[in-house]
Symmetry: none
Subunit: 225 residues, 2 copies
Amino acid sequence: MAKIHLVEDDAEIRRLVTASLAGRGHDVESTATALDGLREIVATSPDVVILDLGLPDLDGRELLRMLRAVSQVPVIVATARDQDASAISLLDSGADDYIVKPYSVDHLEARIRAVLRRGAPPDQDRRRVVGGLVIDPDSREARLDGSLLDLSPKEFDLLFLLADRSGQVISKREMMAQVWREPYGGADRTVDVHLSTLRKKLGETASAPRYLHTVHGVGIKLVES
Amino acid sequence: MAKIHLVEDDAEIRRLVTASLAGRGHDVESTATALDGLREIVATSPDVVILDLGLPDLDGRELLRMLRAVSQVPVIVATARDQDASAISLLDSGADDYIVKPYSVDHLEARIRAVLRRGAPPDQDRRRVVGGLVIDPDSREARLDGSLLDLSPKEFDLLFLLADRSGQVISKREMMAQVWREPYGGADRTVDVHLSTLRKKLGETASAPRYLHTVHGVGIKLVES
DNA sequence: GCAAAACCTCAAGATTTTCTCAAGTTCGGA
DNA sequence: TCCGAACTTGAGAAAATCTTGAGGTTTTGC
């Protein structure tokens, strides 16, 4: 599920938490000291860091500050009950959440989820739907009437460009500029060939198009039927 | 923002989605059954319909078909994950988009925006309208009394030029300059021939013009009747 | 009412633009 | 380095469009 890094000096707790989270499908690594932790976190860039206070070599606040200098990773601070106040104040220093020891792994996982959800980029959905065609640039999947199309990178980009402005005619010159990022040298069959294979994969022909309609002398537009 | 109608039999989901969308400034109504939904949609003509599959009284496809018989309103189909394929296939049956349950309201709103955007005229609308003639240079579509005309590139450009300055007389010299980007050699039948085919496609003749009026000795002007 | 000038139409031939196949070329991973 | 998918390129076929020349019509000026 998520890649988690645990910084915790108590070997027993480390073993326990690691095992529990791993058992829930997470990818867990751990270190026992602040400096090791810092190094590992930077090297492996986990999705979340769980940081125990009271590490032997460095104050939690100190580690947090160093970490924030090099990474935006969400951090959950774990603290013993009597250190409560100090943990809360850590929220101001860059921690994203805290949990009081001893904690249950259920609780911990709930916090992890919350932090991940919060930090995740607003899940804008860039899907484009045109009739029976669904094109999702995030997963780079395109479906026709529900079944997945096997498209090469250029083919996908081309189809997305056309779908993004479906109904509008797009010139080959523009396709070349958008998809290839190159100026268009007139006598170029590259775009044509890609359109041709695209048509083949969409199960249509140039003379009987379902989606890719050529507008002679101008370009191509994507509209259904 | 938009007037939305939700058809969803689960009261809890209905309450939740309604509240969320309303909180974002939308005007939301909802119904729990297909038949109520149909009635309400026809009566209130919303901007978008969100349609849950698996309604108690009627199959989603059935409702969609009935709805399409009386309305062009954009429909977003909501479906449980295991019904995925069926939802996608509904795209062929008149749905405009789909979303998989459970969905976040963020997602839903993104989809709503997408379908509304699709229906709305593009940012800047370059269309020209003269009587029953509509000419859209972005899609390169020209319609006469609602039905699509099949025009060649030059014909389209010519018609657009005339429509762009409808009411004004435009000389052949200028047409040649604008559409052909070439100096005008007096004895040139090219423009005449194109105007002729254009008239044919507009269903008119030179002696009984509806749109293309000849101004003897000067040029042509496009005005209705 | 007549002739000249300006327009219109038709159809065939010339051109332009697209499409597709097949044969290279590249590029990244095994 | 070798293999294979992806991308390019060239050439010819196929479409679609454009142009041209030869009349036929309508309009204008006398």
